[in-house]
């Protein structure tokens, strides 16, 4: 059996163990709850008189801080295990994908361990995100030059 086939077999056996309905329920409730938490941060900062632009930056920063902290103390993984996409898709998943490899690979050194592995998931996300934004920017700029 080739490695690929072995993996497929392994993956399908494990996939069968996670019923879609239950997975979706937890993804929905945990994901929804994290968004509600973000909205609560937003409303609290606004109440405190923080200006709108700063609030927009502070909300993800707050959620990122919480995610990194929970990743560090080992709680994030426990929640993510049953929440699945519920913790992955919100900005919490991005923060966890930055913090976890940083913590796990520190032993390999600060440059090629922590420094390089910190981007193992964040790298592709930023890479293709920026690429998409530059392509859109090009279109938006050219469209703006055409007089209506």
């Amino acid at each position: 059996m080739k490695v690929d086939e072995k993996y497929e077999k392994f993956a399908s056996e494990h996939a069968a163990k996670s019923p879609l309905g239950k997975d979706c329920f937890f993804a929905f409730t945990v994901g929804g709850f994290i968004c509600v938490l973000g909205q609560a941060f937003s409303d609290i900062y606004t109440l405190l008189g923080v200006n709108e632009e700063t609030v927009k930056a502070l909300v993800p920063v707050s959620l990122i801080f919480l995610s990194v902290l929970l990743t560090g103390i080992g709680v994030f993984d426990k929640i993510a295990k049953f929440a699945g996409a519920g913790t992955l898709v919100p900005i919490t998943g991005f923060a966890n994908a930055v913090a976890a490899p940083a913590i796990d690979n520190k032993a390999e050194g600060y440059v090629m361990g922590l420094g390089a592995k910190i981007f193992i998931i964040a790298g592709p996300v930023i890479m293709y995100g920026i690429l998409a934004s530059v392509i859109y920017g090009g279109i938006y700029y050219i469209a703006g030059l055409i007089p209506i």
Binding site: V68, A85, G86, L88, P90, A99, I103, D104, S133
Partner: protein, 121 residues
């Protein structure tokens, strides 16, 4: 009452965006990393098409907290930078709009790596 409705739409839209990803992970062989990349790029495309803006107006954090919201910030950032600074905004807009989140994630993660030890899986 109005506040409750806002929070309800935040919860439902955020929940739906996560559920779609969960179905993709369970039913296709899309890895979590690919889901994240797809969501960010999808967010840029949906914002460019004028679809995601109204969702953000309606669901607020329910649309901005999921990674599609990261794509939304990238797209809005590039529009704003071009409006203010012209062509150079094509290059500067995306990073400018998302700089706080990226810098925070990197710095917090670095500090966490100094403090915490890797846990046996």
């Amino acid at each position: 009452m109005e506040k409750i409705l806002v929070y309800l739409s935040v919860f439902i839209v955020g929940g739906i965006l996560c559920t779609i990803a969960q179905i993709l992970i369970d039913k296709t062989k899309l890895t979590p990393a690919r889901v994240l990349v797809s969501y960010v790029v999808g967010g840029v495309i949906l914002t460019a098409m004028g679809i995601y803006g109204p969702i953000v107006d309606f669901a607020k954090a329910g649309a901005t907290v999921p990674l599609t919201g990261f794509g939304y910030s990238l797209a809005r950032g590039v529009e704003k930078a071009i409006d203010e600074n012209g062509a150079i905004g094509i290059l500067t807009g995306g990073f400018t709009a998302t700089s706080a989140g990226i810098a925070a994630a990197l710095v917090f993660a670095f500090v966490a790596a100094l403090i915490f030890r890797s846990k046996p899986k």
